[in-house]
């Protein structure tokens, strides 16, 4: 268990756009790309982030106080594209994309090289027009499997591409997350060979080996937002430390 080869795992850093500023968001994307990230997740701030923990909630408040909106986030990503071609995931709530317009949103994502979109409050079972718009634009809508999906994983991963995003029960400690992954991952593996990336909302650094051992990668949505105000050099150092 302690012999996990971190270098073979995908570490997905999450940053909250506009925290502390959109200019810094551009710098952070570039820095993380240079530090070797294969995918950078940019979380779009929302007034009521029901699906997020306290760290992202606080970052969202700061970002919105700075006047951050989706058009600004797209502009910040466009700026970063001048210097990096790192794959970018956009993580957001359905209303933000809806207000932008499903088709316009999907086409803008495609134009900016946003490869993946995770909509936190759009379950795959809901019949909404956004998934078709993303598909038409060639952008992947991230397939989500959670601990509560146990025994019903098959339909959730049937149309998945790029990777499977696994969400443990919020508030779980690292031991509980590892236990949940041990139950869930074998069922996912029965239905797909795509890499499994688990959301880890823990401040634990280094990432607990029992978690890393169970999956192909982790999506760290606490570690990086908590360090965002320290500057992009600090974020890339943190990323390198995590992957060393």
């Amino acid at each position: 268990m302690t012999n996990v080869d971190v270098e073979k795992k995908t570490i997905v850093p999450v940053i909250v756009a506009g925290d502390p500023s959109l200019k810094r968001t551009t710098e952070q994307i570039i820095a993380l790309g240079q530090a070797g990230a294969t995918l950078v997740a940019v979380s779009v701030p929302f007034s009521d982030p029901v699906g997020d923990g306290p760290v992202i909630q606080a970052a969202d408040v700061r970002a919105l106080d700075n006047g951050t909106n989706l058009a600004g986030v797209f502009a910040a990503i466009a700026q970063a594209r001048a210097e990096t071609d790192v794959a970018i995931q956009l993580t957001l709530y359905a209303n933000v994309a809806y207000k932008y317009g499903d088709t316009a949103f999907a086409e803008k994502c495609a134009a900016l090289g946003i490869t993946d979109v995770l909509v936190l409050d759009l379950p795959s079972q809901e019949d909404d027009p956004l998934p078709a718009a993303l598909r038409a634009a060639g952008v992947n809508l991230v397939a989500v499997v959670t601990t509560n999906s146990l025994h019903t994983v098959a339909p959730l991963v049937a149309d998945a591409a790029h990777f499977i995003f696994v969400m443990p029960i919020p508030g779980s400690n690292s031991g509980a997350i590892a236990d949940q992954l041990r139950l869930l991952v074998p069922e996912i593996r029965q239905h797909t060979d795509l890499p499994i990336i688990a959301e880890i909302g823990l401040p634990d650094v280094p990432i607990p080996a029992a978690i890393l051992a169970a999956v192909d990668g982790v999506y760290l949505d606490t570690v990086f937002p908590a360090a965002a105000s320290a500057g992009s050099e600090k974020l890339s150092a943190l990323f390198q430390k995590l992957t060393a």
């Binding site: 009521d48 359905a94 209303n95 932008y100 809901e126 509560n148 969400m167 919020p170 779980s172």
Partner: protein, 404 residues
């Protein structure tokens, strides 16, 4: 008013035209499906309906009265005004109708624990009441700011055996309490039922709340037939999330001769930033599990809203109301704080009824509407709750100091 029309035809349940749906984190979806299945099975089960009817009659005190407001009718000098007295229910509001129903569904599902969010504390108290009755564990999530503003209701819930958890995240108000309750439910859905108090949220909640609250109009339909020998011309009810209004409208929706009017909170005025008039000022969006109308900015960030009434102080509204408005089947009007407070004082003096400030938004609309109609017309107005809880804040609004 910005409207986004779609030509998408929804194939999943819980849609009212373009509105409704199940917009929740994947974590919650399986449990919502179980709740929907359990609810539909329950409604088919005579034993469930018998138990619910028994509780409504012998615990909640139904049927509630349909009272002919002779003084108001005479004073307003127009239509005949009848009041549907939900304020006379046990716990003093219509909330108990839905809480009893959902708690029975929870019991059927084998849940041992009820959770709910509350703003001012009314829904929390109703949930704690039924948890006490059923011997279930109960935890109420309440923004820390609200727990300080509503200490009496916090104590009431504790008296009823509930644990009240102050929520400190975000701005520590109702929406943060919703977040905390949802996260708790996601973590403990094996033994826990989330009891939602209004006609909002993801499917199947708007449908359940519609059904459990429709007892209001089932009764009023019969009562008015008996009292006046015919059906009413207008139904008036206040709308926050819209639970008492949907219950008051339900049995009349299919009869286009009956006008349906919802009265929402204009706060300091629909043209000021301080209002909660979602139907008047809102636009379509996706939030709190549903596609509906919300007060929000152009970027889709949800607005902070204001009303003197804590029960109407919500940035959204139930999806079925938005559909009724879109179809022109129901009209929604906005009533200011001032108008509602005047109505509060008016109905107290005219009829000897201290009605909830929420309900007084509907009364205020009746005060405008009745004089414009002939004496052959009949209005039924739902008094959704009693106003004892509001006396102190009305006094404050009027600048009267009360020494308690």
């Amino acid at each position: 008013m910005q409207e986004i029309k779609s030509d998408h035809t929804f194939t999943t349940p819980g849609h009212y035209g373009d509105f409704g749906g199940t917009y929740v984190p994947e974590l919650l979806y399986p449990e919502l499906q179980r709740v929907a299945d359990a609810y539909h099975a329950a409604r088919q089960d005579p034993a469930f309906n018998q138990e619910l009817n028994d509780l409504l009659a012998n615990y909640a005190g139904r049927p509630s009265l349909l009272y002919y407001a002779a003084n108001m009718t005479k004073d307003l000098g127009g239509a005949q005004v009848y009041l549907k007295r939900e304020d006379l229910n046990h716990t003093g509001a219509h909330k108990i109708n839905n809480v009893l129903g959902q708690a029975l569904v929870a019991k059927r599902m084998g849940k041992k624990r009820l959770i709910a969010e509350t703003g001012a504390g009314q829904h929390g108290v109703a949930t704690a009441t039924v948890a006490a009755l059923f011997g279930m564990e109960c935890e109420i999530f309440m923004g820390k700011v609200d727990t300080e503003r509503q200490k009496l209701n916090v104590y009431r819930m504790q008296l009823l055996g509930a644990k009240v958890t102050p929520v400190t995240s975000g701005s520590a108000v109702l929406k943060d309490a919703v977040n905390a309750a949802l996260q708790n439910w996601a973590a403990r859905s094996d033994d826990t039922f989330y009891l939602l108090g209004s006609a909002v949220g993801p499917y199947p909640f708007p449908e359940m709340v519609h059904d459990f609250q429709s007892v209001i109009s089932k009764e009023s339909k019969q009562q008015i037939q008996q009292a006046a020998g015919r059906q009413p011309d207008y139904i008036v009810a206040c709308v926050g999330g819209g639970s008492n209004a949907i219950g008051s409208f339900a049995e009349y929706i299919a009869d286009p001769a009956v006008h349906l009017i919802g009265a929402e909170a204009a706060g300091k005025g629909v043209d000021t930033p301080e209002n909660a008039a979602t139907m008047t000022n809102g636009s379509t969006g996706i939030f709190h599990g549903m596609k509906s109308k919300f007060l929000q900015n152009a970027d889709g960030q949800i607005d902070k809203v204001y009303s003197i009434s804590a029960g109407l102080d919500y940035p959204g509204v139930g999806p079925e109301h938005v559909r009724l408005q879109e179809l022109g089947r129901a009209q929604y009007v906005a009533i200011t704080d001032d108008e509602a407070v005047n109505a509060f004082e008016y109905i107290a003096k005219e009829e000897g009824i201290i009605a909830a400030i929420e309900s007084c938004h509907a009364i205020a609309e009746v005060m405008k509407l009745a004089p414009t109609l002939g004496s052959d017309k009949i209005i039924i107005c739902t008094v959704s709750g009693r106003g004892d809880k509001d006396v102190a804040s009305i006094a404050k609004y009027r600048g009267v100091e009360i020494d308690d």
